[in-house]
């Protein structure tokens, strides 16, 4: 299972990348977040359990129990502040 990751705003800056391609170890959004946290450093810090971030799969916001389809576009970003 592959995913195309996108990062926006503060998270894009902290992670030092706007996107990357990942081979997924698990099946849900929670598994994916755990996989990124396991990188340690800024990833563990920004995606820690107490931090607020949003996950969108194929451009729809999902909860962490969402199952990821193959080749999903998965975005992780801070709460939105437009308007």
């Amino acid at each position: 299972m592959k995913a195309h990751m996108l990062y926006f705003a503060r998270l894009r800056e902290r992670f030092g990348m706007a996107d990357e391609h990942l081979e997924l170890a698990g099946t849900t959004a929670a598994d994916l977040v755990e996989q990124l946290r396991a990188r340690g450093g800024i990833w563990a810090e920004e995606l820690a359990a107490g931090r607020t971030f949003r996950v969108a799969v194929n451009q729809d916001i999902v909860t962490l129990d969402a199952v990821l389809p193959d080749n999903a576009e998965v975005a992780i970003f801070p709460p939105v502040t437009g308007g």
Partner: protein, 147 residues
Amino acid sequence: MVQTEAFDLGAEVDAMRQGRTDIGAIASFVGLARDMNEGSGVQAMTLEHYPGMTEKALAALVDEANTRWALLDVTVIHRVGRLLPGDPIVLVAVASSHRGEAFAACEFIMDALKTRAPFWKKEETPKGERWVDARSSDDTAAARWDK
């Protein structure tokens, strides 16, 4: 719907009403960049968005407004890129037969946009750049519309 250029409220509203005589009410809203936020001066801001999802999210908001109220036309324009204090950021205009529906739908779209459309603001202040934090007041405003 998403653009870097300025928009023209008068032209957008005129385009809505041109050639039709069934509209009784047009409620509109313009959000502008302020020189002050959370106690410190803002010299400029940059709006980032998630291309693709933004358009999808805005279209979903408009669809939801059309389901909830009897609307004749809706326009939503959100700017991205670098903006200066005083610059217009967002425009929502809603046409309906009656004013109650136009007002409600216009305010609903703005409230929902603030929490559901993927835009992020970064401000330039005398102390440096900072990403704007989401406001709990925006969550509260958006939650008013939940049934």
